[in-house]
């Protein structure tokens, strides 16, 4: 029994170890190293031939120089801040667009639901890059959106959307919307309709029943959807570099440049470690809070 339970728990931990912890430790190790003109481009390297002394030698050369460097150059913290801001705003916009869509899907007649679901995941059948490129075609000065708006007479001058933060928001919301819709839909579809009737029976209007019953009971889906959008949006690199302009500052872009343009792996690794910390802190806080709520109930 005990062995069984241990082995059951061991599987996800093993997975987490292989796919998260070990890569993270490698990145963390690189972030403590110094850049060097070599392959790979950092030092120290582990000299296994020197045995135990080699390991000790390597550890003695580790330092937090790269992290200190990140603190001195304001490009980095500005990029982090701007990334967090862009990710937060896009997450919120995804929620604004995604919740009504999920709600509509969950309330649609049973026969329609598989079709609606298919329509939500259909974009995944096309390559992400192609979809972002087609957004360029839509959003550019001579793009379809401007042509359409001019044609119906809403605007006389074409709008500059491409290469601005607005294009980035549109790109992120478009790309990550299914990640918001699906978990919310999953909680809404489980919602027992008689709860809303009970709320009405006890004196709620329809709107009040929505805010007092539907929203609290889909909280789990909303939170899951927000994390699923916020986390990849924070580190997003393709969308800001293809749709964003020179003023669009996102840490994913900085990371890319440090790795591939500057070939400064240690600084790039330090950037990545900090990014991870930014992501982990809210997740851990949230988990702790949930845990406390569950314990308080028992």
């Amino acid at each position: 029994m005990n062995l069984r339970r241990t082995s059951l728990i061991a599987v996800p931990y093993f997975w987490l170890g292989c796919l998260f912890l070990i890569p993270f430790l490698i990145v963390f190790k690189i972030s403590l190293s110094d850049a060097a003109l070599s392959i790979p481009p950092y030092t120290p390297k582990l000299e296994l031939s020197e045995g135990w002394a080699g390991v000790r030698d390597m550890f003695s050369q580790f330092d937090f120089e790269n992290f200190e460097f990140l603190a001195t150059d304001d490009l980095y913290w500005k990029s982090y801040l701007s990334s967090v801001q862009i990710a937060l705003i896009s997450t919120f916009m995804c929620l604004l667009v995604g919740f009504p869509m999920a709600y509509g899907m969950a309330r649609a007649p049973q026969v329609w639901q598989p079709t609606l679901m298919l329509m939500v995941i259909l974009p995944f059948w096309t390559s992400f890059l192609i979809r972002v490129y087609s957004l360029i075609g839509i959003l550019s000065q001579e793009g379809m959106l401007n042509q359409f708006l001019t044609w119906i007479g809403v605007i006389s001058e074409p709008l500059t959307i491409l290469n601005t933060n607005i294009a980035v928001y549109i790109g992120i919301v478009y790309t990550y919307l299914p990640f918001m819709i699906l978990p919310i839909y999953a909680t809404l579809i489980k919602l027992d309709g008689s709860l809303l009737e009970a709320a009405e029976d006890l004196g709620c209007s329809r709107t009040e029943a929505f805010w007092r019953i539907t929203v609290p009971l889909s909280k789990a889906g909303i939170i899951a959807g927000c994390f699923l959008v916020f986390i990849p949006a924070l580190g997003e690199f393709v969308i800001p570099s293809l749709l964003g302009g020179s003023e669009t500052l996102m840490i994913g872009k900085v990371l890319y440049e440090e790795f591939f343009s500057n070939r400064d792996w240690p600084v790039a690794s330090a950037v990545a470690v900090i990014l991870l910390l930014i992501l982990i802190v809210p997740i851990v806080l949230y988990q702790r809070n949930e845990q406390r709520l569950i314990e308080a109930e028992q």
């Binding site: 008689s194 029976d201 709620c204 609290p216 109930e297």
Partner: protein, 398 residues
């Protein structure tokens, strides 16, 4: 089980016994507003029909329900009971006809503005709120002062005896406790009318019986009018002041439990409530009495119909417990037939004997088991006499 509990509205029941012969004489002030032509009904259904597409769930139904009544809707699954309740609560609108509450047509009133509360079949407790907040939910919508809400919630918690679980969430209490919370929540706003949709169906038999009495106590204490839906006839008979037997969206009979049991107006009602023998035959009228010839070579059954019947095809309906079984031909009862024991259903406190007549008709008779099983008075193939008085059965025109 609390035998012989006085239910207050003038019916004295001995629980768990066939209602019929044990019903005691009625006390002085009988609660029977439906017999009073001056009484104003709390609810009036006037030719109410409800269709879903081309399916008629409730069919041209008219009934009056009075204040302080405990009105039971009894019928097989799918006969339209829930639909009737949902029309009262405001979740469905009648396709035609009107429903009046306190003399006013309620169709324009949305559910949240009706002084009607419903206890849902699934309880529909809010899983994210504590027991306390579930009960307070409706009171808070009325924007009552906080102390008043608190006092009322505590009163409700006491009433249904769940004070100890006030701070638990619905998934942290048992099914029986959940059902009490649902009841407390629907009572908290002191509605004029409380609708209970199969409130006890999720409970096991013992708990269900206890709860039935509690429901009656609560109804008595609060003076609320209850309409209860059930498909359990024993439950309907136990709790209700009147029972409405429904089938295919129509009310077949609306009457007191005693009348429903003793004087069913149709073979359907007789068959639906309890165990029954239905014997078909040809009636000839002889003054007060009716002679029913039902089988070749058998004496006519002598019956006394409640309403006069015309000669012709009739059904004679008689409960098994009204038929005595003996080995000698009895002399004191008008009706006596001879047959042999075909089958015995042993039920512990009593046994039902299936007795086959020479023409093949099987008549059921129950007898209390006064002795242990291994000494039952009759056994298979024994020749026996079945007998009953001329008022024991009901004669129904086809």
């Amino acid at each position: 089980m609390r035998p012989g509990q006085f239910i207050g509205r003038g019916v004295f029941f001995v629980h768990h016994c066939p209602v019929g012969e044990k019903a005691k004489p009625m006390p002085q002030n009988v609660f029977a507003p439906w017999t009073d032509p001056q009484a104003k009904p709390l609810i009036r259904f006037e030719n109410v029909t409800k269709r879903f597409g081309d399916f008629t769930a409730v069919d041209d139904l008219s009934v009056d329900i009075y204040e302080r009544e405990f009105f039971a809707l009894l019928g097989p699954s799918g006969c339209g009971k829930t639909t009737m309740m949902r029309m009262l609560a405001g979740f469905e609108t009648p396709t035609s006809g009107t429903i009046m509450l306190d003399g006013k047509d309620i169709s324009p009133v949305p559910p949240n503005k009706r002084s009607v509360n419903m206890m849902f079949q699934s309880y529909a407790l809010f899983p994210h709120l504590t027991v306390y907040d579930n009960i307070a939910f409706g009171l808070k919508r009325d924007k009552l002062p906080a102390e008043q809400i608190d006092a009322r919630v505590k009163e409700m918690l006491r009433l249904v005896q769940i004070e100890r679980f006030a701070q638990r969430k619905p998934d942290q209490i048992s099914g029986g406790q959940r059902q009490r919370v649902a009841l407390a929540r629907s009572l908290a706003k002191a509605p004029k009318l409380l609708l209970l949709d199969e409130p006890l169906s999720a409970l096991d038999k013992k708990l269900r019986q206890d709860t039935q009495f509690e429901l009656m106590d609560i109804q008595e204490k609060t003076g609320t009018t209850f309409v209860i839906v059930t498909h359990d006839q024993e439950e309907a008979m136990t709790v209700a002041s009147r029972v409405a037997v429904m089938n295919f969206g129509k009310l077949i009979q609306v009457d007191t439990p005693t009348q429903i049991y003793e004087a069913p107006n149709s073979a359907y009602v007789a068959d639906f409530i309890g165990d029954v023998n239905i014997i078909e035959g040809n009636a000839t009228v002889d003054g007060e009495r009716v002679l029913i010839s039902w089988a070749e070579g058998q004496p006519d059954i002598i019956g006394t119909p409640a309403q006069p019947v015309a000669p012709g095809r009739v059904s004679f309906v008689i409960r098994p417990e009204k038929i005595a079984i003996s080995s000698e031909k009895p002399t004191d009862r008008r009706n006596a037939v001879h047959g042999k024991v075909l089958d015995i259903a042993y039920l512990g406190n009593m046994s039902t004997y299936h007795v086959e007549m020479p023409d093949g008709t099987v008549i059921k008779a129950t007898a209390a088991n006064q002795r242990r099983r291994d000494s039952l008075p009759y056994t298979w193939e024994d020749p026996v006499w079945l007998s009953w008085t001329d008022t024991a059965g009901v004669v129904l025109a086809e």
